[in-house]
């Protein structure tokens, strides 16, 4: 049986998670969205997934384990080091942006403030990462 493609999201802010999920509902077809509320939660959820997520949306400012720490952990793990990781943050600080790329983020997406902007961002990132680019997990379902 074919596995449904997966998108993973990790964010400690409940309001942001709600907006992301609602925005995904508008543009996703068959993909399943896996939500995690912390870096540790994400790592344990990844263990249970049958396929690698097509991409991960990763918040930066989280307690206990920051987005940078999650990114470094994923890049050091051969099970997950090929997974595209898109930083999704309100931070516009250039040092944060530069550090994310240095640690191996695949892109750094600016987190919007309104739901309409959320829909626009999520639609564009889905169009690029699910329809224009190929990812290591997409080979499973294409």
């Amino acid at each position: 049986m074919r596995n449904r493609p997966v998108i993973a999201v990790v964010d400690d802010d409940e309001d942001d998670l709600f907006l992301i999920q609602e925005a995904f509902k508008v543009c996703l077809k068959e993909e399943k969205v896996v939500i995690a509320s912390s870096g540790m939660d994400l790592l344990s959820r990844l263990e249970t997934l049958p396929i690698l997520p097509s991409f991960l949306l990763l918040d930066l400012n989280m307690p206990l384990m920051s987005g940078f720490e999650v990114l470094a952990t994923l890049r050091a793990d051969p099970r997950y080091n090929l997974m595209p990781v898109l930083i999704f943050s309100t931070s516009n600080e250039q040092p944060d942006i530069d550090r994310a790329y240095e640690l191996g983020a695949n892109s750094y997406v600016k987190k919007p403030s309104s739901f309409n902007d959320y829909k626009s961002v999520v639609e564009d990132l889905c169009n690029f990462w699910l329809r224009i680019a190929s990812t290591p997990s997409s080979r499973i379902y294409q």
Binding site: I97, E102, S107, Y108, F128, I132, P136, S138, R139
Partner: protein, 157 residues
Amino acid sequence: MTGPLSVLIVSTETPELHELEQSLRNYGVPHRHLPAEGKAALDFYFQQGLADAMFVPTLIMLDIDACEPEKILALLKPHPVLRRIPVIIFGHGNDPDRVKLVYSLGATCYMPKPPNWEAAMAPFCSYWKKHVALPAIKAEDISSSNSYSNLSNRTPY
């Protein structure tokens, strides 16, 4: 304030390249083409760590059918500044092993060459121009980086 999108394309002169360049022009994206067959130009551009380059990109697109991305990435990824630049590798087909190889090299993504560049570049540019914060790549940072001299001494491409 993040750097504006500016694209360096490494590829051979083909009709596809012209379509890609035309699409970037249509979407107002500054870009340069570095001929993949011009080994000396590639050597100069990448081995000098872009420090002397007139055009410093914030996104690089490598044609895997025309150049050897692993050699270019081997120059970029160990460098403290240049490693920030997202590198998209594009090519014919969607072979799973090729896709896996591209990500294992540290590239940003693999992009199969689309049948219609103009149509594909609309979502491409919308994503990279509107929503992505790009790294700051300044020629003076490249020049002053400690490993610049080490980079220049690496095995020639």
